[in-house]
Symmetry: C2
Subunit: 205 residues, 2 copies
DNA sequence: CCGCTTTCGCTACGACCCGTAGCGTAACTT
DNA sequence: AAGTTACGCTACGGGTCGTAGCGAAAGCGG
């Protein structure tokens, strides 16, 4: 959402229109895909004038980022008792999210667009990426509390390791799902988690 | 690159036009990005009529796949003496390839498009993905010859492990480069390789 | 209650790109 | 030489883009 701060006079923007637009965007994205998704189509579905759309989002890509971002808030990290179980759980969850047609088509297209648009990349980072990275930090914290992982005194090194883990988990799941186009089932999640945690032990030492 | 075989009469298609089109596509892709890349622009740059383009490629996405595919042939796996060195080398190489503006924007956009187009996905698989997977198989073969990895008698399990490794390597590098937008330098490659090989040991057992 | 400000829906518009059809010409096969 | 196919060129209807202008509606200030 665009933070509108210095406008306290006049007619306020309709919050219903906002949610209707984002909802319509997700629906149209799932049915039509990225390339056939047009601003006019979204406006019609939302019951809103096309100009209203352009008053809030300058481009299709930014609209889609906002529309899809909320879906990533569904990702949770329930305590399953062990680090391995936690990782397996989030892998399955993330894969399920990527199976949905809205997200699978949107995520790649938006990242592709962001290679030429620094502002869009920043938006993706704050709206989507950082929300996932939070899970990595939480999972590590829990594992350290359980005594499964040692506490790393070097803050910079700890941050680098967290980034590495994040890239490996998210990257592998995305690649498996969207490029290899093969399912992320229980078995794959278990094997992958074993690989990750086993490797983590050798990096830590 | 459509394999036309059953036409032995009449004027043959110009091979120069083919290479000019693919070259023009790569150049335009690097300068304009995916969304602003038009068929007319490519035709103009290649010095070719727009209709000639459509006679060979039905859509922009398929053209781009063919244009970018040859770049992935640059990937090599020189024998660096150890499995770790081989992996580090291919990681650096792959990351360097993804740094090029033609490839970084093309790969994501094409994958995004492929979520709605099964034929395109197949084309990506044969033109790009399988050519990379080949490197994984070669690297494992070498490591087994060196005695660094045990030979897996179970063929199915060996294939699953190879797929897993492939998804982890390619996924992590892509995610690091395009989503996290941070550099894949020597240090990252070294740490990542340690993670991968260390984990591989625990999976094998 | 009434002006002020901003947003809303609507229409229209030029610009661009799409993908195709038709034509005459060029190139290669037999 | 005859046949067949690819080529460049032009033109076209259809669609989307992003913007401008309008009058009406909705909240805020007095």
């Amino acid at each position: 959402m665009v933070a509108v701060m210095c406008s306290r006079k006049g007619r306020p923007r309709s919050a219903e229109a906002d949610s209707a637009i984002l909802e319509a965007t997700r629906a149209a994205l799932g049915e039509l895909g990225w390339s056939k998704l047009t601003m006019g189509e979204v406006a019609t579905r939302a019951g809103v004038a096309k100009t209203t759309l352009y008053r809030r989002w300058p481009a299709k890509s930014e609209l889609v980022v906002d529309a899809v971002a909320v879906l990533f808030d569904e990702l949770e990290l329930p305590d399953r008792g062990s680090l391995a179980a936690d990782v397996e759980g989030v892998v399955i969850q993330f894969a399920a999210l990527l199976e949905r047609p809205e997200t699978k088509t949107a995520l790649m297209a938006v990242v592709a667009e962001s290679t030429r648009d620094e502002a869009l990349r920043a938006r993706i980072r704050t709206s989507i990426v950082d929300r996932q990275k939070r899970l990595v930090l939480l999972g590590r914290e829990r594992a350290q509390t359980r005594g499964e992982l040692p506490r790393e005194p070097d803050t910079a090194k700890a941050a680098r390791t967290a980034d590495l883990i994040f890239d490996v988990i998210a990257g592998a799941v995305v690649h498996r799902t969207l490029v290899s186009a093969e399912p992320v089932d229980e078995e794959w999640a278990r094997t992958f988690t074993a690989l990750l945690l086993g490797g983590l032990a050798s990096v830590q030492s």
